[in-house]
């Protein structure tokens, strides 16, 4: 036996704690009930995978088991926050593609544009104008990182979204579709036009975009002063907050903007035939409070205004339109919100059958540049 000093208690303690941590971790997997979803991360969590020899042979069982082990780890939300704090403390300015900006702003990094997507989307928009026989006005909501340069971390590289949009404008030139420049929105966006913890524009930002759309449609917009503005929540933590785990950022506010004296406009959901007010009070209690506006994503819904101007607007849209549509609904008799991610019917036939008079596309510029728009037309033109 070689001589050595006795092991220090500290060295033993480290090994004992290591063994204990493994045992406790394993035990907690067994004891704690599996969570179905995470409110903080706003997603469904993986469950213990079904066992089959085929799944083992293909390796799917092991992959699914790893997802299960990650998603169901005891105190997951706390660990995610701790990791975000560590990233921040070591000076890094981003987590999972979200910049930690100045003044509590979280901002999505813009991805590089995949080849050909912009071209395809431009063709689709032009085809829609032709098939419907109506001009199509495209309001492409710029990503916050593109407009709020002063809120980005120092020197943070951002892809030039305006250059992509200029290309889109060029591709649409001469067709029935036209890209709106959203000058009012762009001029004011820096004065609080976006949520800080969410990728959407807020009620104020959507109002400026509404003014730009009104100008294109030949409608006189209401002045901001005409509205009654109420803050209905001070506790909104949006999707960027969830993604980045940036718990130190203060919450956003949710605002209810309404015209005093206006008769209530109702939202009719086509999927289940139910009617709802424009603002879903009950959704202030859920994690994604942005669904306060029109209740979140639906394939098709119609806003009906008995005091409207007789025109019927088709909003071909993603979630950026939810907060914007109520402003437009105060003018139009009907606003049809059609979400191409969920709506599987012919768009032109829908427009014809419902007597649509105006068409506006409201989508985030980054999806127009990066994701193929899903649109089916009955009349393929010419």
């Amino acid at each position: 036996m070689k001589k050595h000093s006795p092991i220090s208690w500290q060295q033993s303690a480290l090994a004992i704690l290591f063994l204990a941590a493994m045992a406790v971790g394993l035990a907690l997997y067994a004891i704690l009930p599996a969570r179905a979803s995470s409110d903080q991360e706003n997603r469904i969590l993986a469950q213990f995978p079904d066992f089959s020899w085929e799944a083992v042979r293909s390796g799917d069982f092991m992959k699914d088991f790893e997802s299960f082990a990650n998603d169901q780890f005891a105190g997951r939300d706390m660990w995610v926050r701790l990791n975000a704090a560590f990233i921040r403390l070591t000076g890094r300015q981003e987590n999972k593609g979200v910049y930690f900006g100045r003044d509590g702003y979280l901002m999505e990094k813009l991805d590089v544009r995949p080849e050909g997507v912009l071209e395809r989307n431009a063709e689709k928009l032009a085809a829609m104008a032709q098939a419907c026989g109506l001009p199509v006005y495209v309001a492409a909501a710029p990503t916050a990182a593109n407009l709020l340069a002063d809120k980005l971390p120092p020197y943070a590289p951002v892809a030039d979204q305006d250059a992509y949009l200029a290309q889109l404008e060029g591709m649409l030139a001469g067709s029935g579709a036209q890209l709106l420049s959203l000058d009012t929105f762009r001029a004011h966006a820096g004065q609080g036009g976006y949520f800080r913890t969410d990728h959407h524009w807020n009620a104020q930002g959507a109002y400026w975009a509404y003014r730009d759309i009104c100008q294109a449609l030949g409608i006189v917009p209401h002045d901001w002063e005409e509205y009654q503005v109420e803050t209905v929540s001070h506790s909104f933590y949006g999707t960027l907050y969830s993604k980045a785990g940036a718990w130190w950022v203060p919450a956003d506010a949710i605002q209810r903007v309404s015209l005093p004296g206006q008769e209530a406009i109702m939202q009719h959901l086509m999927d289940d035939g139910t009617d709802h007010p424009l603002f879903w009070e009950e959704n202030l209690a859920v994690k994604d409070q942005y669904t306060y506006y029109l209740g979140g994503n639906h394939a098709l819904s119609v806003l009906e205004n008995p005091q409207g101007n007789g025109r019927k607007l088709l909003l071909f849209k993603d979630s950026y339109a939810h907060i914007l549509a109520p402003y437009l609904a105060s003018h139009f008799s009907e606003v049809h919100l059609l979400d191409p991610r969920y709506y599987k019917g012919y768009v032109d036939r829908y427009a014809a059958e419902n007597g649509i008079t105006d068409i506006v596309v409201v989508m985030t510029a980054s999806s127009l540049c990066q994701e193929p728009v899903n649109m089916i037309l009955e009349n393929k033109g010419a």
Binding site: I7, A13, L17, M22, N70, W79, N83, G91, R92, P157
Partner: protein, 464 residues
């Protein structure tokens, strides 16, 4: 399965350690073999059969070699060794390099032979080298034949070093396979070593890997971005690989094994020769013992030494992956080693500071060869490093601010000083040891947070 994952830490390891220590001593090699097969099958449910085949094959070859030697039939023994080497290289060649040769043949001869598209079995480059060492060691009398196939299987499949080394030559563990010391002191040292490796892999390597990925994907690079990128890659691969080796050595200790060291602060070297004595040391030893010296080493004159170095370093290069850029990478080091031996080695010894700078530059350039599969991509990157894309851009300035603190910590962690500091603290008495304990505990908690968040956890050795 990788060590830096929750299934390993909270399911596999407690089960493996529990079974291992509950089993009687004489069963422990069997338990180790079995759990190692499960460990391997987790990532390679089909190729585990290939590894078993390889195990049986080399076990049999070992017996053959020993029997011929005992009978005094040395030529037959030599033939058996040659047969074993050919078989092992054949397996490695087929599963790892078949498509490289077919693709190259196609482009040279203008043919269109379809690629086999066989997925690479994880760790095959490591375990075929280990099993080859066994038959050769037995032949040379450096190790005894292992009569028990379970013990031999435990050596081949031993999960701590199975996937990414260290490459354990049979003679390193010959005695330990059947007689090893297992005690609490060794176990607790193992835990500390394992956690050290975990911190290197998860907090340092994963933390900086994102910077390299961003730079490598950028269409245009300034000088600043290109240098930060290659610095990030150099740190990522070092902390990833040496962290993995630390974890393997730590796990080995927990099981009673003393596995060979694999890294010794390579970025502190003042020549490329010294760098390669400190970087992936077990691979260098393997090539020296089983290729360079059998070729005659440096004992057959200058011309033959140059040829031998060239052969060994091309082989080292292509071992790292089935792509010609790895051959270039190896050739680059071979060239520098030849030049150091015959031209400027003495000058480097006289000026170690300049030697250090020269070594770091040479290694940085080598990482460009290592990272990009094609010559035009390498050329563009090297041009950016030389300033062809301007001095600085937003990506570079942002990365410098965002990753500067991490890079500084990594530079410190690449020196021996951090380890020496912790050792000095421990030597100062009880409070110093308590501080070190606190550091390990805090770091482990952050490691766990990073693993649970699973933001970024690549594994660089799957193609080796």
């Amino acid at each position: 399965m990788v060590f830096s994952s929750l299934p390993f830490l909270f399911f596999f390891l407690p089960a493996a350690l529990g079974l291992y220590y509950l089993a009687p001593r004489s069963w422990r090699n069997g338990v180790l073999f079995l759990v190692s097969l499960v460990f391997y099958a987790w990532g390679e449910p089909v190729y585990v059969l290939l590894m078993l085949f390889s195990t049986v094959l080399d076990y049999t070859n070992g017996r053959l070699v020993q029997r011929y030697k005992d009978q005094g039939r040395l030529r037959a023994a030599k033939a058996a060794v040659a047969w074993a080497v050919v078989l092992n290289l054949g397996i490695l060649g087929f599963f790892k390099y078949a498509d490289l040769f077919i693709g190259t043949f196609n482009s040279l001869a203008g043919t269109a032979i379809p690629l086999l598209e066989i997925p690479l079995p994880i760790g095959i480059s490591f375990y075929t080298f280990q099993t080859m060492s066994y038959t050769i060691d037995v032949y040379r009398g450096d190790a005894r034949m292992q009569p028990n196939i379970i013990s031999f299987g435990a050596y081949v499949a031993m999960f701590p070093q199975l996937i990414a080394g260290p490459i354990v030559r049979y003679q390193d563990v010959d005695q330990q396979m059947d007689h090893r010391e297992m005690n609490w002191e060794l176990f607790s040292q193992g835990v500390e070593r394992f956690l050290t490796g975990m911190v290197k892999k998860v907090l340092l390597a994963n933390g900086i890997g994102l910077l390299w990925d961003t730079v490598a994907a950028a269409p245009q690079l300034s000088m600043l971005s290109a240098w930060l990128g290659i610095l990030a890659f150099g740190f990522q691969i070092y902390f990833d690989f040496s962290g993995y080796s630390d974890m393997a050595i730590g796990l080995g200790k927990m099981l009673g094994f003393r596995l060979p060291e694999n890294f010794d602060h390579p970025y502190m070297s003042s020549s490329v020769a010294v760098f390669w004595r400190r970087w992936h040391m077990t691979l260098g030893t393997w090539f020296r013992e089983y290729l360079y010296i059998p070729l005659g080493g440096n004992r057959r004159g200058k011309a033959r030494t140059i040829l031998n170095l060239a052969i060994v370093w091309m082989a080292t290069g292509i071992w790292h992956g089935a792509s010609w850029n790895f051959l270039l990478w190896g050739a680059w080091f071979g060239l520098l080693l030849i030049l150091e031996r015959f031209v400027w080695g003495k000058a480097l010894e006289r000026h170690p500071a300049w030697g250090h700078i020269y070594t770091l530059l040479a290694v940085a350039v080598s990482w460009v060869f290592f990272s990009f599969p094609s010559l035009p991509e390498m050329g563009r990157y090297l041009a950016s490093m030389a300033g062809a894309g301007g001095l600085a851009d937003n990506l570079g300035l942002y990365s410098l601010l965002s990753y500067g603190p991490m890079l500084a910590v990594m530079a410190l962690a690449a020196t021996p000083w951090l380890g020496q500091g912790l050792a000095a603290l421990k030597a100062r008495g009880a409070w110093g040891r308590t501080v070190v304990l606190g550091v390990y505990l805090a770091a482990s908690v952050v490691v766990l947070a990073s693993l649970v968040d699973a933001s970024y956890n690549p594994f660089l050795y799957f193609r080796f």
